[in-house]
């Protein structure tokens, strides 16, 4: 039982990171009907930004430093997300969806390989932004301050996202555009600006996820975005793609399931699990846990 609860805590921490990435997928899919394959690479760039921010003079060791690095990574990733949308996706707004998807794969590969060229392919040790210590030890169940940081930062970020989407003018515009592009345009919404904003918002969350992974994992590397990116997408599908609470729940389930499989079966099966979940959900409930079924129109 102790081990189970411990795995659950580890899984929830890992799942919060998936959830942060999955939110970006789900928002972009909601608004453009596009699997933004490059999203995993934005998350990688977040972790890399954190690494270089510390290398180039940011100090380490306190929560203040963590917050500062987190902000830098979120800003850099927002700019990157904006640039990706502007450069690669906007010229293809009227193209068939499959072409945009192939472009997205191209952008993802471009970031991976340029990353390997610029940063070097070897894994880099992520600087210890905060010191790892156990703050709770209850009959063998351990909660570290890093895990607590991950929980608190992801909860704050998600509350922020919720506020933006539900309470602000821009959030209202986002919801309108995801419902119908043409109608939003007719009532005076600048659709392109809303799409750019969605990319900025999603990328900022991915950047934050990159830093949170950095403080809990020992190393970062230019290919680290590939698998978590795809798995976070699976998490978004699991929760119901286009649905923001769905991405959160999907991410948490995915994180817990992966940790349980690594803990009780074997780490080598971990990578297959996400895809087994994906295929089950596509066959049994394609709209996802929280998604609505939509009738297809001719």
């Amino acid at each position: 039982m102790t081990e189970f609860i411990q795995q659950l805590i580890n899984g929830l921490a890992w799942g919060s990171i998936y959830a942060l990435i999955a939110l970006g997928y789900t928002m972009v899919y909601g608004i453009l009907r596009l699997i933004n394959f490059a999203h995993g690479e934005v998350y990688m760039m977040g972790a890399m930004t954190g690494y270089y921010a510390v290398q180039w003079g940011m100090g380490t060791g306190s929560l203040f430093h963590l917050a500062a690095v987190l902000c830098i990574a979120m800003i850099v990733c927002s700019l990157l997300g904006w640039a990706i949308e502007r450069g690669a996706y906007r010229p293809m707004r009227k193209a068939p969806r499959l072409n945009v998807l192939i472009t997205a794969i191209g952008v993802s590969l471009f970031l991976q390989f340029s990353g390997q060229y610029i940063f070097g392919a070897d894994p880099k040790p992520f600087p210890p932004l905060i010191e790892n210590k156990n703050i709770l030890n209850f009959e063998g169940i351990v909660l570290s301050n890093i895990q607590l940081t991950i929980f608190i930062s992801s909860i704050l970020l998600m509350l922020g996202l919720r506020y933006i989407v539900l309470k602000t003018q821009m959030g209202k515009a986002m919801r309108a555009v995801s419902y119908d592009h043409t109608a939003s345009y007719l009532v005076g919404i600048n659709v392109n600006r809303v799409i750019s904003f969605t990319f900025i918002l999603g990328s900022a969350l991915a950047g934050a996820a990159g830093i949170l992974v950095g403080i809990s994992n020992p190393t970062v590397n230019p290919l680290m975005g590939l698998m978590p990116g795809i798995k976070a997408f699976v998490a978004a599908v699991l929760g119901g793609i286009g649905n923001i609470p769905g991405a959160l729940i999907g991410g948490l389930i995915m994180g817990v399931a992966e940790t349980m499989v690594s803990g009780y079966l074997s780490g080598t099966y971990r990578d297959a699990l996400a895809f087994i979940i994906l295929i089950l959900i596509l066959v049994i409930r394609p709209q996802g846990l929280l998604g609505k079924t939509t009738q297809e129109k001719v």
Partner: protein, 320 residues
């Protein structure tokens, strides 16, 4: 059999060029040529799925893996047990018969896996299909990574070489067959089904075409040839690793199909040859330019993005 003379001629030509190339060209260049042949097989079989039928499979390397591992397993575990058949088969072609047997076993295994994967996934649309095929390819990789009998991540070793070392003949015999079959299938009147499903699923199904059956046909035949290619690859290399068949491998074939023009037979063949040759050409460049070979993969990704951007421009024009 109207085509019989053509087939005989092709085989004779292939055998002749095999001996010519072996005599004239050094082993390094010969190996590049063999890799080109394999790429043509894999890209053309993917072209049937992604290009002609308009599906989007991102897991072609998975079928190649099934073919490679099954063919290798038949060669390593089953063939030695078939020694009692030796009396029935003349000495000269015994190796070839067993080799063809294992290749066919690999290809059929790949086709079967393609069928089983197609059952749930071919009901999905565009991008969902892409991610589901990617997922299955990854599951296949994890499966071989955990299978004790084929050496797990350390690789499946000791796969016998192609009998009599007629590598060129087999690689290109399969490439030619694949291109020929895909070309014949898609240009026949029945083969227009593929394009019909690609262009408009609703209109074609209203004409009584079962688009599920058409997609399945493309998927199974595509996997069959991917398996054949994988089987030859395994016997060519002698050792195969699950990592040989990862996502990047699948993406390489997708790039070939995209660059060659989806649904263009010879365009894809050319693109497969060009993209296999490109890294070797870049490596041969004199020093100031040889740095370009490090950019190979960056170049690949730019090729994808630019091809798609140009294509969407012309697409937008054709609408206006």
């Amino acid at each position: 059999m109207k085509q019989a003379p053509a087939i005989v001629l092709t085989i004779v030509l292939l055998i002749l060029s095999h001996y010519l190339l072996n005599a004239l060209i050094n082993p390094y260049y010969l190996r590049v040529i063999l890799l080109i042949g394999l790429s043509i097989t894999l890209a053309t079989s993917l072209n049937l799925i992604n290009g002609y039928t308009g599906l989007f499979s991102l897991g072609h390397a998975g079928f190649m893996a099934v073919g490679a591992y099954s063919a290798a397993a038949v060669s390593v575990f089953l063939i030695p047990k078939l020694a009692f058949l030796n009396g029935l088969i003349p000495e000269l072609i015994r190796g070839e018969v067993f080799f063809v047997l294992s290749l066919l076993a690999g290809a059929c295994a790949a086709a079967l896996v393609g069928f089983m994967i197609g059952l749930p996934t071919l009901r999905l649309r565009g991008d969902y299909l892409a991610i589901a095929t990617l997922g299955f390819a990854e599951i296949i990789k994890v499966f071989f990574n955990n299978l004790e009998a084929v050496g797990k991540a350390k690789g499946f070793t000791g796969i016998p070489a192609i009998p009599h070392a007629v590598n060129f003949f087999w690689v290109f015999f399969i490439a030619v067959t694949c291109v020929w079959v895909v070309g014949k299938m898609t240009s026949s009147s029945k083969g227009k089904d593929f394009a019909a499903v690609r262009e408009d699923e609703i209109a074609s199904s209203s004409l009584g075409l079962s688009h599920f059956k058409v997609k399945m046909k493309a998927f199974v035949i595509g996997s069959f040839f991917a398996g054949l290619g994988g089987g030859v690859y395994a016997h060519l290399e002698g050792t195969i690793y699950p990592e040989n068949f990862n996502i990047l491998k699948s993406i390489e074939f997708v790039v070939m199909v995209v660059l060659g023009g989806m649904g263009r037979l010879w365009g894809v063949v050319l693109a497969a040859a060009f993209l296999t040759l490109l890294p070797e050409l870049l490596r041969e460049l004199p020093p100031p330019f040889s740095i370009l070979s490090q950019f190979r993969m960056i170049l690949y990704s730019l090729i994808i993005i630019i091809t798609m951007l140009i294509r969407s421009k012309s697409f937008a024009k054709s609408i206006n």
